[in-house]
Amino acid sequence: MTVQLDARPPVAPAAGGHRRSSGRLSRLDTRYSPYLFVAPFFLLFAVFGVYPLIYTFWVSLHDWDLLGTDHPFVGAANYTQLLADGDFWHAVVNTLGIFVISTVPQLLAALWLANLLNRGLRARTGWRMAVLVPNVTSTAAVAIVFGVIFGREFGMANWLLDMVGLDPIAWKSDRVASWVAISAMVDWRWTGYNALILLAAMQAIPRDLYESASIDGANRVRQFWSITVPLLKPTIIFCVIIATIGGLQLFTEPRLFHSGTNPIRGGSLRESQTVTMYMFENAFAPHYNFGYGSAVAWLLFALIALVAAVNVLVLRRLGGSGMGPGKGADR
């Protein structure tokens, strides 16, 4: 995870190297062209990326809705109301629940899958494509398909449970069960992707480390936990951060898992309404309460930052091997 700034010195404008005839124009060119080249990105991102995010905070300090002609400044009122809002905390718990249930098995499975793929396989590309294909399907389509698989009466999940002699589960109306079903969707989509990222990092580990370990009598399992995993730590942290940013903003899967009346609530008792869905419910149809929705957005932002920071701190401390944190797999 290193970005090498100035890894190789870029081409200097080479002041003396230009022909005399094109002197002034060429000096203007070497001086200003770089800015011209990067400007479109920064302009567009400023207008459609940064400005909305900052303005969200401004809006969150106002009583602001779609139809109201004026929107008085209310200070932190939206936030205090939100902190006392049971539905908001309900959504926070849902989001964290789905996040934990999905991310932990997902990364463990990805690690295991990467370990399988990191062997002398026949049809290497074929296997990689097979595990990546869920990632390239349409999220909305998958959510609809999984909504049927986890259906109450004729769903495949309950049928499988029945085959092994278990009672059917109300996947959509039981709170924790709906988290599990949505996590299954998320994991189905992202496990292969993370496996490939971990595989890339695994392949960069020098082989002789394993050779000397096996001379020292470490078996394969031991090698995996004391060489592979510690050296993968920067990549694992990367995967966790990506999963945190994406997972805490989860929207499409839980939204389309439910259909029928008012699905933006994530079930009749908000069984699986995530924070992003709650933001959406307040800020857009039917309420169009921009101020309150913006406060939800900012608290979610804070939550993401907090969870990401905690994750990084915990992971850094875990599994302190001989290698310093962040050293091994930097390349």
């Binding site: 970005v3 700034l5 190789r8 870029p10 081409v11 190297g17 230009h18 060119d29 062209s33 770089p34 990067v38 479109p40 990105f41 920064f42 567009l44 991102f45 459609f48 990326g49 909305p52 995010l53 809006v59 899958l113 399988l116 793929l117 990191n118 062997r119 002398g120 396989l121 590309t125 296997w127 990689r128 494509m129 097979a130 294909v133 869920p134 390239v136 399907t137 349409s138 999220t139 909305a140 389509a141 998958v142 398909v145 999984f146 049927v148 004729f154 495949m156 049928w159 189905w188 990222i197 990549t235 940013i245 903003q249 929207f251 389309l256 959406f280 149809a285 913006s294 957005a297 979610l300």
Partner: protein, 277 residues
């Protein structure tokens, strides 16, 4: 490869299970799309295609709630425009960051990287207000324009340009009196082509898939993207599931096609990005 651990039959067995779990939901989606409505409730689930695909497609395109054809056309327009734009601007900026020297370069590059970590999805409310002011609500510019650049694209092109574009060639072109724009076109663009292809594929797939923002800003049911058509089908009061699955299958098809044709490059892009980033 000879020094890799050998794969045992058990390895293959585990991989077959993993691959099966990956592929089965997609396969089943296409099976149901090709059968009549009662295929949905059949247990064990049918695994062979039926002969109803044509009829299902016909009913899907006749569905007056979903505007499925409009959705397909709109998604194509949006995804193609965004892809061309992202690749174009990313190759300009990526080249500048990798190969040109200018004041503030490193700080600007760090800003680009920081933007990749920003959950821009949280800015949808002001973005919606902005679109209202521009009177772009319910119209395609609302979903196209905010997506025209990505920090990820700039960063990816910068990483690739650093190693793929030869300094000597740039210097030689300068000596011949080439300005920076011509150098970009004649020296940089040809060298960036492989990375541009991967970035284009990834961008196309992400854009095609986008749901939250189109859902927020395209409220006119008669002018959806294809993902919104799926939502309309799925939320419909009376659900004809073989028709819904025909919709999901068709919406997934372009992505699968891209993946089958360019899977190797996409995998290469994801894995290289992971190591280099």
């Amino acid at each position: 490869m000879s020094r890799l651990w050998r794969a045992s039959p058990l390895t293959y067995l585990a991989l077959v299970v993993a691959a099966g779990m990956s592929i089965f939901p997609i396969w089943w989606m296409f099976v149901v799309a090709s059968r009549s409505s009662d295929a949905m409730g059949q247990l064990p689930p049918p695994v062979t295609p039926g002969g109803n695909l044509g009829a299902n497609i016909a009913r899907l395109f006749d569905n007056t709630d979903a505007y499925f054809l409009t959705g397909l056309i709109n998604s194509t327009i949006v995804a193609v425009t965004v892809t061309v734009s992202v690749v174009f601007f990313a190759s300009l900026a990526g080249f500048a960051f990798a190969k040109l020297r200018f004041r503030g370069r490193n700080a600007l590059l760090l800003t680009v990287i920081a933007t990749m970590m920003v959950p821009t999805q949280l800015g949808v409310i002001p973005l919606y207000m902005l679109m209202t002011r521009l009177q772009w609500n319910d119209r395609l510019p609302a979903v196209i324009v905010p997506a025209l650049v990505t920090g990820f694209g700039v960063f990816m092109m910068r990483q690739y340009a650093g190693q793929a574009v030869s300094d000597e060639l740039i210097e030689a072109a300068r000596m011949d009196g080439c300005g920076t724009p011509r150098i970009w076109w004649h020296v940089v663009v040809p060298a960036l082509r492989p990375a541009a292809a991967v970035l284009g594929l990834l961008t196309f797939m992400t854009t095609w898939n986008d749901f939250l923002w189109p859902y927020a800003v395209l409220n006119d049911p008669a002018n959806p993207t294809v993902q919104l058509s799926l939502r309309a089908l799925s939320d419909g009061y009376y659900q004809d599931m073989s028709q819904v699955f025909t919709g999901t299958a068709i919406a997934t098809l372009p992505l699968l096609l891209v993946f089958v044709l360019f899977g190797r490059q996409i995998i290469g892009g994801i894995m290289e990005g992971a190591v280099k980033a």
